[in-house]
């Protein structure tokens, strides 16, 4: 407790240095937090699309139900499919209504006639997709074929880009934060040289002398994390309607976002903000640990 009081006194007596350290920590944690959220969201989006049928075959309006069933049978006969689901025009309308239930304008404009019937095909192995594709191409009445593989690959490249760019930036800023805290704590140790000398001579334990400096670095991280949490929280609140519309269809995200007072949401928020605070505390502590190890040798 006395170490915490001393650390707090150190911070209050040199507010500009404390502000520099806290601002750096804040920027690092803000960026790391945002990229972590983006990366997590893209992971769940990816998982969602990976779980969807691999090929969707849309048929022309004039295509008869018999032709569609013929193609279904041909595909089943190859032995290379796990499942084939036939979606009629009416079922397609029901799905559309379900997905856009919050937008009456979109519902008014659409009828079953303008929606195509489709087959959703999943292969036993992604390598069989080209074989199935050949069968589909020979069939008449097909309007469009959507390969989920293309969507997934695009998503993977986006997810990787987010992870790579975000990870690199957050990593660079983390190193920067550690160096800044290290420099500031090093300066403080130099300024308090006489106090350290006196504490040593009156019999203070090494831990008693080091602890306030270590805690000071950790506190910079905690304050930085606190400000970053407020900003991220405010951003999330501001973007909530957009996020709910855009990502709400992904079950893993939608279930959390849909009920901001639910246990799932509160646990997710606690883990995220707790993680941010822990990361900040650890980053600051590492910086001060290096400074203490370097400048407080006894």
């Amino acid at each position: 407790m006395i170490s915490l009081t001393t650390a707090w006194r150190h911070m209050r007596r040199s507010p500009y240095q404390a502000m520099a350290a806290i601002l750096t920590m804040f920027l690092t944690l803000l960026l790391a937090g945002l990229f972590f959220l983006a990366s997590t969201a893209s992971f769940f989006v990816l998982k969602y699309f990976e779980g969807k049928p691999q090929i969707t075959v849309y048929f022309q309006d004039k295509t008869s139900e018999e032709s569609i069933h013929n193609l279904e049978n041909e595909l089943t006969a190859t032995g290379k499919t796990v499942s084939i689901k036939y979606i009629t025009k009416d079922e397609a309308l029901a799905l559309y209504r379900q997905q856009n239930k919050n937008d009456p304008l979109l519902l008014e404009m659409v009828t079953a006639d303008i929606l195509p019937a489709s087959l959703e095909v999943s292969a036993t192995d992604p390598n069989f997709l080209s074989d199935l594709e050949a069968v589909i191409k020979e069939s008449e009445g097909v309007e469009e074929v959507v390969y989920q593989r293309d969507v997934v690959e695009t998503l993977i490249s986006w997810t990787n880009a987010i992870r790579w760019v975000g990870g690199s930036l957050a990593g660079l800023l983390a190193v920067d934060s550690i160096l800044i805290v290290m420099t500031i704590i090093g300066m403080k140790i130099a300024i308090k040289k006489q106090e350290v000398e006196v504490l040593n001579l009156v019999g203070a334990s090494p831990w008693y002398i080091r602890a306030p400096f270590l805690l000071e670095g950790g506190l910079y991280g905690l304050f930085g994390a606190g400000i970053a949490s407020i900003i991220i929280g405010a951003l999330a609140l501001w973007m909530y309607p957009f996020l709910l519309t855009f990502l709400g269809v992904i079950p893993a995200i939608g279930s959390v976002l849909a009920a901001p007072t639910s246990a799932a949401f509160l646990i997710a928020a606690f883990i995220f903000f707790g993680g941010l605070a822990t990361t900040g505390f650890l980053l600051g502590s590492i910086g001060s640990l290096v400074a203490v190890g370097r400048y407080l040798k006894f």
Binding site: L201, V202, G203
Partner: protein, 235 residues
């Protein structure tokens, strides 16, 4: 009891102390005299483990100071307090806070700290100045604060490295009176000094060091003025 057994301390090729053997009993008041560079400060620093001897053993009761693990040095320094010529007070703390520091580090609670600090401030005659900062005190008062900080934790031994070096004669005697009072309650005192009148008047045990060697150890010693210092005095 403190004992030095054939202790040598080298700074490079220079002998700061050379084969020094001496025993100081509990409760003694010992003056350590000698010209500058004779090894007085080295002697004291070896006792607080600010330095380790090149050779020999230093004992404080059953503690072998020279082989004490680093993790226990702070425990030694709670038993061996030091008073310096330059006081070493913290300028951003009041007299009370400077003295309380020695109790805070051992985890004493606030009521105990207040009680003990008030007691020693009364002993050194600073009870009315406890809320002043060091820069608001005279040199003598600063030294008294330094002594209060050293004794508040109840050390077994008090080392004083020229505690009167920055003080006028009258104030020096006030400090000596306080040290005598501390000695009277059983604390061993080893005081390095250049102050001949104090040594000659108090007639305590006096160890004289020259070139790192003990040249005399007298029970009721006198200050032997070194030739070089005598010449300087004439000039």
């Amino acid at each position: 009891m403190i004992s030095f057994d054939r202790v040598t301390k080298l700074y490079g090729e220079t002998h700061a102390l050379s084969q020094v053997s001496v025993t100081i009993k509990d409760g003694e008041f010992v003056f350590l005299i000698g010209p500058s560079g004779a090894g007085k400060t080295t002697f004291l620093k070896l006792l607080t483990r600010e330095m380790v001897p090149t050779e020999g053993d230093i004992m404080l009761d059953d503690w072998k100071i020279n082989t004490l693990p680093d993790s226990s040095i702070h425990l030694l320094r709670r038993r061996v307090g030091v008073v310096f010529q330059d006081f070493k007070l913290l300028s951003d703390r009041t007299v009370f806070e400077n003295v309380a520091l020695a109790l805070e580090i051992i985890g004493k609670r606030e009521p105990e700290i207040t009680r003990d600090v008030d007691k020693v401030l009364e002993l050194v005659g600073l009870e009315n100045k406890k809320y002043l900062f060091p820069q608001q005190l005279s040199a003598g008062e600063m030294q008294r604060t330094s002594i209060a900080r050293t004794i508040v934790g109840g050390p077994k031994v008090l080392l004083a490295d020229e505690p009167t070096g920055n003080l006028d004669p009258e104030t020096s005697w006030e400090i000596l009176d306080i040290l005598q009072e501390i000695n009277d309650i059983g604390t061993t005192i080893i005081m390095a000094t250049h102050n001949a009148s104090i040594v000659n008047d108090l007639k305590k045990r006096t160890i004289t060091l020259e070139h790192g060697e003990i040249v005399s150890d007298e029970a009721r010693g006198r200050y032997h003025i070194h030739k070089k210092e005598h010449r300087t005095h004439k000039l």
